[in-house]
Symmetry: C2
Subunit: 166 residues, 2 copies
């Protein structure tokens, strides 16, 4: 295939970012940093990190409110060890329970407890409000669709590129 660039790109063949591209890229980083910080700040008083929220939200949207650790780790883009430690905290707080899988005894299931579900329902409205206030509500419906289309192009584009890399 050989579609990849060589590791050391020769300086003369670098395509630098023009003003529009640079401004958009920097703004993308800036906006995302701000949003993530706002979300973290919003969840902190409830004793949760955004990672915790991700676990609870994922579990609440899964069949029987439970998920295999390995699947959960993949969804959330965290390492197995990271998920183990994160679950330790959520188990300690009683929001999640561990349950050995009946089908595969290597597997541990993460189960959302009733307390965890109540916690999520209590926190979700404020979280959604933050997402609105920091992002969604500043976009017109047309802008929303434009942004979605653009992000989709980025995602599918990079996904395809990764396929051809392998």
């Amino acid at each position: 295939m050989a579609s990849g660039r060589s590791p050391q790109t020769v300086a003369s063949e670098v395509r630098w970012l023009d003003d529009d591209e640079m401004a958009t890229w920097l703004l993308m980083v800036e906006v995302n940093t701000a949003i993530q910080a706002a979300i973290e700040e919003d969840l902190a008083p409830h004793g949760l990190t955004s990672g915790d929220y991700g676990v609870l939200a994922r579990l609440s949207g899964s069949p029987d409110h439970r998920l295999r650790m390995c699947d959960l780790a993949e969804f959330l883009h965290v390492s197995p060890s990271g998920l183990t430690r994160r679950l330790d905290g959520l188990v300690r707080d009683g929001f999640v329970a561990r349950e050995p899988s009946a089908e595969d005894r290597r597997v541990m299931l993460a189960v959302l407890t009733d307390d965890g579900y109540e916690k999520l329902k209590g926190v979700a409205p404020e979280h959604v409000a933050t997402v609105r206030r920091q992002f969604i509500d500043h976009l017109s419906r047309a802008q929303l669709r434009n942004v979605y289309a653009a992000l989709l192009a980025v995602e599918t584009g990079t996904a395809l590129a990764q396929l051809s890399d392998q």
Copy 2:
């Protein structure tokens, strides 16, 4: 003023995200996670983190290749202590030097060394290529402008909201 919402938003007055809004939000998170991971992966072989790159890039764009620690921390959205530790590493590697300020003896200046500047020039092309491959090159010029306008609306919108909060 009292423009803020109460801490506990009553469930009945929550405006949930509709399908378009939710899809855009989730895609925004997904795309950004992927881009940041790709950048980190791109810099790692060079012994740099994205935070390190940010320091070098900022310094290289500043007068005399130097900046007060407090200003640098603000630009990069890191805590003072975080910046101290980050600089420890860059100083150890010889890419940055500390220099007491002549005007204000509380202040420490971070100075880009020649080695640091060379390092940045060596890494920048690959970094730019990654930004292109992961993001910019998947957007048409019209999409780029649309995204920029949307992000700008988000940034100015949240900035204005924060002003009225204070």
